[in-house]
């Protein structure tokens, strides 16, 4: 008798019939009816109307029938929450059934019913099951806690289930331990605030013991949990590693990868001189290689992780190049990933073999793969200097194939090779030029144009070549247009006599006929440069460019470290932190590798409280404007070596932004400031945060000045400090401060003319900054500023400008222009100008938020020499929009609970502990964006001490 008959009934009025059958007195008939219902449900029919009838069948001693009814419940309880309550009684009863299978079944089903109303009824049965005598029931109940927590976290915490779960870590049954760990990890992941996984050496020991005894899946849970543990010193780290290494011999790749994660993480704490460190390195290679014999999907996960591992510790796999050679039948995603790893492992020792392989791949048929192989050859040339010549000749061979996309890809990488080894391979230019007509991809065209412009003096017909592109100028992509503009200007500067007409033509195309602001602005810069001072123009445009770095495609180190902590997970496959793709980011904690330590304390909390004064914060002056313009002129090809186009544009924007839209007006008539002799374009396009030396003499720390002139009606205002000394700005001295009064922020500036000529035409621009500060009105200096005259201006600011995270957070880069020049400086603004007036949080809200923010986000600071009592402190802080939500006296100490809100909506919660008679007070800050804490602390200190 097969069960397929249940799936065949398709009669009309079926529901009605089923209802009758369900209510039949005959057991057999009932069971048959439930089976039919389940069959309908499985094929997607809506049988929810039968809810009460099916639930009525729940009270039965027939396990099969019970299972079916439970299955039905899981499916429909959510849509019929009121009805679902009917099932509660049976659950409670089933949880006490003598049969452990039924107890476990009941508790498992309970966890799957995501109905708020009934969850609280389930607490008692769950509590019993967690302490059940049968391990099968306990292990099922453990998982149920995690499910319940997802539905109602508060309930689970109030009921003390979390503590029970923690106790289960010491259970005698290894599977119960594994499930308890899995449940705790799951809860901890979504609620980082709970100190659930504060494991101690004893519990670690229990986990390591259970590791040897439980199933492969349990082992994975335990290993993943171990990876979150922070050993107290290198000895503990080593002893855990020693007990984890046997897992590398497990047949399940997931067990192996999770073990690799633990080892990679804890290795960080071991000294490299240790013998054990070397042993461990050697032990890691073979299992990683074996992962490549797994199924393709597992291979892919392994390869994505190996990609991270070779970046973090290249020594592990440096002799294993061969295993990454591509096989004909590898899926494309495996091929591409292998290729990437091959380049990372390429070195002088193996380059010959690698190149032979890459050449082979470049003649395959899969276009994506071929392109990547060609690019890889270029990356090898840049990475392994000794191989550059061979790479170039390989690329030339490939160009001879005349396969269109191969040629284009080759030209793009040759351009990068030129940027790494200038003036070395220009003999190949002739060959490249032969292929000019076949280039139809913007990137290849742009690369070719760059080459022609850069080597214009060696190409006889450079003008003709460039002119040929000019005909369809407006049809080209921006990338090509920008490149063409620069290339023709370069050509003109190299061969001015023959190409004047050409340069006129391109400048007018770029400035007059184009709608693209980037293109127009660049056109204007060139135009003015050329028309005012061709010598300076030459120095700027033809300046020696920095060599490109060999490894531009490496993952940024802090991200890499974070990803190492996520080996085996989706994050490691995406190469993105979980916060980038997991919803809500409800307190996403950034994991980091443990610090390397000697056998001592530390490693306890990553953010140790700073002692003493805040670090030096002298405003920095950005000295060479050339840097910024340099970016504009030269780095338009994007990051070298095939970076993703997205990154290119964003980086560029960062650099260009300082000049903002008002570039034309910023550019005075006398461009003498541009292109000093020491002009060097920076290696990357980002604006360095701390360029130049701090100004010593006149500037003392903004926050150390104690002679404050705080106004009563607004926040504390620091005295003005010199931001731009006269010697750096051709006689213009700027000092200033920031104020906040009744909700509006302003920048109070004092401009002094210390030069001998009159200054006019003032304008101001901010670079993008962390909080979107921007001038709300133009800088208005009504009369020309005569020599030795000073003018005070209050510039209103808004917080609706573009946002870019700065380092430090409160760094503000400013460009000020007058008739003489454009000047750049950066300053740090006190964070309390951003504290808004409605920053008082409701008490309940405060409590809930304080609990909800993870403890890792808490930062503690000491404020010394501040002999204020609680009232005085409270009122002082209140005037700067730090509000006291509640006050408490604990053992003679005054505790002030305070809240404040930043202009961008970030809440900061504070606990200020003041001890009468003690001049120091303690400040604890909790915020979902912990990076602001340091600055909030400084604001506190500033306000309290003034």
């Amino acid at each position: 008798m097969t069960d397929s008959k249940y799936f065949t009934t398709t009669k009309k009025g079926e529901i009605f019939e089923l209802k009758a059958e369900l209510n039949s007195d005959k057991k057999e008939k009932k069971k048959e009816a439930v089976k039919k219902v389940i069959a309908s449900m499985t094929v997607g029919k809506d049988v929810s109307a039968l809810f009460p009838d099916v639930v009525n069948c729940m009270q039965t001693d027939n396990l099969e029938l019970k299972k079916l009814v439970y299955l039905y419940l899981m499916n429909y309880a959510k849509s019929q929450p009121d009805m679902a309550i009917m099932a509660v009684n049976t659950f409670v009863k089933d949880c006490e059934d003598p049969n452990p299978l039924i107890r476990a079944l009941a508790v498992r089903t309970m966890g799957c019913i995501r109905v708020d109303k009934i969850t609280e009824y389930l607490c008692e049965p769950l509590r019993k099951c967690l302490k059940d005598e049968d391990p099968y029931v306990r292990k099922t109940a453990a998982v149920c806690v995690a499910k319940l927590h997802d539905i109602n976290a508060q309930l689970v915490e109030d009921q003390g289930f979390l503590d029970t779960l923690k106790d289960l870590i010491s259970d005698s049954n290894p599977m119960v331990v594994a499930n308890a760990v899995a449940a705790l990890s799951e809860i901890a992941e979504s609620h980082p605030s709970s100190n659930l996984l504060d494991l101690n050496p004893q519990s670690i020991n229990k986990l390591l013991t259970a590791l040897n005894e439980c199933t492969e899946w349990g082992q994975i849970f335990i290993l993943d949990c171990l990876a979150n543990y922070m050993p107290k010193d290198d000895r503990e780290a080593q002893s855990i590693c020693e007990r984890v290494t046997p897992r590398l011999s497990h047949a399940n790749s997931a067990v192996v990868l999770s073990a690799v994660k633990v080892l990679m993480k804890f290795m960080e704490m071991l000294s490299k001189d240790l013998d054990y460190y070397g042993t461990l390195l050697k032990k890691l290679a073979p299992p990683l290689v074996t992962l490549l014999s797994a199924e393709p999907e597992l291979q892919y996960v392994a390869l994505r992780n190996i990609n991270l591992i070779v970046q973090k510790r290249p020594e592990i796999l440096k002799h294993e190049m061969k295993v990454f050679f591509v096989k004909y039948n590898d899926p494309i995603y495996v091929k591409l990933e292998k290729l990437d790893i091959m380049i990372r492992l390429a070195s002088q020792a193996n380059i010959a073999q690698v190149l032979a392989e890459l050449k082979e791949y470049a003649t395959e048929v899969d276009v994506d793969f071929v392109r990547k192989a060609v690019r890889a050859i270029g990356r090898c040339a840049i990475k392994v200097e000794q191989s550059a010549e061979r790479c170039v000749s390989t690329l030339l061979d490939l160009i001879q194939t005349k396969v269109n996309y191969v040629v284009q890809e080759a030209i793009v990488v040759i351009k990068d090779i030129f940027r790494k080894y200038p003036n070395k391979y220009e003999s190949v230019i002739a060959t490249l030029c032969e292929n000019l007509d076949s280039l139809d991809e913007p990137e290849a065209r742009a690369a070719m144009i760059w080459i022609v412009g850069e080597y214009a003096e060696r190409i006889d017909n450079a003008d003709e070549l460039l002119e040929s592109f000019l005909e369809g100028f407006h049809d080209e992509s921006t990338q090509v247009q920008l490149q063409l503009l620069t290339a023709i200007v370069k050509l003109f500067l190299k061969k001015p006599t023959e190409t004047q007409e050409l340069v006129q033509q391109v400048l007018s195309l770029a400035t007059q006929d184009s709608d693209n602001p980037d293109l127009r602005d660049r056109g204007y810069i060139y135009w003015r440069l050329l028309s005012t001072d061709p010598v300076a123009a030459k120095e700027v445009v033809l300046a020696e460019k920095p060599l490109i770095s060999e490894e531009t495609d490496l993952i940024e180190p802090t991200l890499l470290d974070e990803l190492i902590c996520y080996i085996g997970t989706l994050a490691s496959v995406y190469h993105k932190p979980p916060s980038a793709f997991v919803e809500g980011g409800r307190g996403v904690v950034h994991k980091s590798l443990p610090p390397r330590t000697a056998s001592s304390e530390s490693a306890e909390s990553p953010e140790t409280a700073p002692t003493g004064a805040p670090p030096g914060e002298q405003p920095d002056v950005i000295p060479a404007q050339g840097d910024l313009l340099g970016d504009l002129l030269n780095l338009d090809l994007g990051p070298p070596v095939s970076g993703p186009p997205l990154a290119t544009s964003s980086v560029q924007m960062g650099a260009v932004d300082l000049l903002g839209g008002g570039l034309d007006s910023l550019m005075g008539d006398e461009p003498e400031g541009i292109g000093g002799t020491n002009f060097v374009a920076p290696p990357t396009a980002a604006v360095p945060a701390n360029l130049g030396a701090p100004i010593g003499s006149g500037l003392s720390d903004l926050f150390d000045l104690t002679s404050g002139v705080g106004t009563l009606s607004g926040s504390y205002v620091a005295p003005k400090a010199v931001w731009l000394p006269a010697m750096k700005a051709k006689g213009l001295e700027i000092s200033g401060t920031f104020t906040r009064q009744v909700g509006s922020i302003s920048m109070d500036l004092q401009l002094t003319n210390k030069a001998l000529q009159v200054m006019t035409d003032f304008a101001i621009q901010f670079n993008r900054n962390s909080f979107g500060l921007a001038p709300a009105a133009p800088l208005q200096v009504h009369a020309p500023l005569s020599p030795n005259q000073t003018v005070e201006i209050s510039l209103p600011l808004s917080t609706v400008g573009s946002v870019m995270k700065m380092e430090p957070l409160n760094n503000l880069q400013v460009a000020v222009k007058n008739n003489i020049d454009v000047f750049y400086f950066s300053t740090l603004y006190p964070l309390h100008i951003l504290f808004v007036e409605d920053g008082k949080m409701d008490r309940q809200m405060f409590l809930a938020t304080w609990k909800d923010i993870p403890n890792e986000n808490e930062a503690q600071f000491q404020i010394r020499d501040c002999p204020l009592n609680a009232e005085a402190a409270s009122s002082k802080l209140q005037s700067s929009n730090i509000f006291t939500v509640a006050k408490r006296n604990v053992e003679g100490q005054d505790m002030l609970y305070q809240s404040l809100k930043l202009t961008n909506g970030i809440w900061v919660l504070a606990e200020l502990r003041i001890q009468p008679g003690n001049p120091s007070c303690t400040l604890s800050l909790k915020c979902r964006a912990p990076e602001v804490s340091q600055h909030v602390y400084q604001a506190y200190e500033t306000i309290l001490k003034n």
């Binding site: 099969e64 452990p100 299978l101 999907e297 050679f325 995603y333 997991v582």
Partner: protein, 390 residues
């Protein structure tokens, strides 16, 4: 963290069966899977991990079925894929039989108990197994993976060995397997003698093997599952002479013909014989009118795979054979470029291991004290055996 739900879909993407584990991802999200897969495939950017908004799909394909896991968290990807593959494998089929019972009524009546395998420390073996004759069959199987480039130089040569057991033993037997493992010999001081030993590069064990014990003193000790299972696998990358060496000349005369000459040489001991040798040689997809000449065995054109398969039933070591093939080509050449698939070789050499690995002993101890017999069989076969063509 693991998957939220697992689905088995048919080839059109219709869910056949599903299991919702966590309930944090709506089951209806699976509808996005197939369109997404199709789209990615068209873009040529298909990967085992797809995402649609906040939902991530981890999938594998098995014949006409898709196994898909969904998650919205940072799940452990390798765990999920291993799980999906385990779902297919159902390796410990004996264990499954405990759950899938033909007579469902059994549970009603009896004092039902939890199958001990779900919580036991020994989850892979049930208690109370009985055999009249207690025997263990040990198969040592070595697969040779080879990658040779068009110039005939060996790029990659490795041996992947597996030891498979067929266990017919009563009770809860304790087994210990002894191999001529070099590390073990060094540990026990056997290495000085004339015992030949083998250096195993990376060893992987079935979950029944006590890993910490192996890590300590290289002892392979375990309580086996009942029936068939893979006890261990190992890898050696020591360069060995390719067992069957192929030299080929494939000459393509555009618009007229292709001429293929393949020479195969058995580079193993004369006493051994390779069985079921199959050499597949790629031919252009538009080739026609095949003609063959072989010194031994037979050649067959398989147009659906675009290969000629040259089969040799038995191929003794040291021998050298030749095949010639001739194909016509159409005068009108087709547009798209074809890849250059490698020559593949399949073979099996019984009673022989390339690595020289040997089972020295298999000790079987059960508290009832029965005598059990271990039987060992060795075989070497081709794994991923590819020779690129020019």
């Amino acid at each position: 963290m693991s998957a939220s739900a697992v689905f088995i879909l048919d080839v059109k993407g219709k869910p056949l069966i599903s299991r919702n584990y966590k309930g944090d991802v709506a089951m209806s999200k699976i509808e996005h899977f197939m369109p997404l897969l199709v789209q990615r495939e068209e873009e040529g950017a298909l990967a085992p991990l797809l995402s649609h908004g906040q939902v991530h799909f981890l999938w594998i394909k098995h014949s006409n079925l898709y196994l898909v896991a969904t998650t919205s968290k940072n799940a452990n990807a390798s765990l999920v894929y291993s799980f999906l593959y385990k779902t297919i494998e159902t390796t410990d089929s004996k264990i499954l039989q405990e759950y899938i019972t033909q007579q469902s009524n059994k549970l009603e009546t009896g004092k039902s108990r939890v199958p001990p395998t779900v919580t036991n420390a020994v989850s892979w073996r049930s208690e109370g197994i009985k055999y009249k004759k207690n025997e263990v069959f040990i198969d040592v199987i070595e697969s040779v993976n080879l990658l040779v480039n068009a110039n005939g130089s060996v790029l990659l040569s490795e041996i992947v060995g597996t030891i498979k057991l067929k266990v017919f033993l009563s009770g809860m037997p304790e087994l210990r397997l002894g191999l001529n493992d070099r590390v073990l010999f060094e540990l026990t001081g056997l290495s000085g003698s004339k015992n030949k030993s083998v250096e195993l590069e990376d060893v992987k064990f079935h979950q029944c093997v006590r890993l910490s014990r192996f890590d300590n003193d290289r002892t392979i000790s375990f309580i086996p599952p009942d029936g068939d299972f893979e006890l261990m696998s190992y890898r050696l990358s020591t360069q060995v002479k390719p067992l069957i060496w192929i030299e080929s000349v494939i000459e393509k005369f555009s618009h007229s013909r292709v001429e293929i000459m393949v020479k195969a040489k058995g580079q193993f001991k004369k006493q051994s014989v390779a069985n079921g040798v199959e050499i597949s040689v790629p031919v252009p997809s538009d080739a026609d009118s095949p003609r063959f000449k072989t010194s031994v065995g037979s050649a067959k054109y398989v147009p659906e795979r675009n290969v000629v398969i040259w089969s040799i039933k038995s191929f003794p070591g040291g021998k050298e054979y030749l095949m010639r093939a001739h194909f016509g080509l159409p005068s009108v050449e087709k547009e798209e470029v074809e890849g250059r698939p490698p020559i593949g070789v399949k073979f099996e050499i019984p009673y022989f291991t390339v690595s020289g690995i040997q089972v020295r002993y298999m000790k079987i101890i059960e508290k009832s004290g029965y005598q059990a017999l271990p039987w060992v069989r060795y075989i070497t076969q081709s794994g991923d055996y590819q020779l690129r063509t020019s």
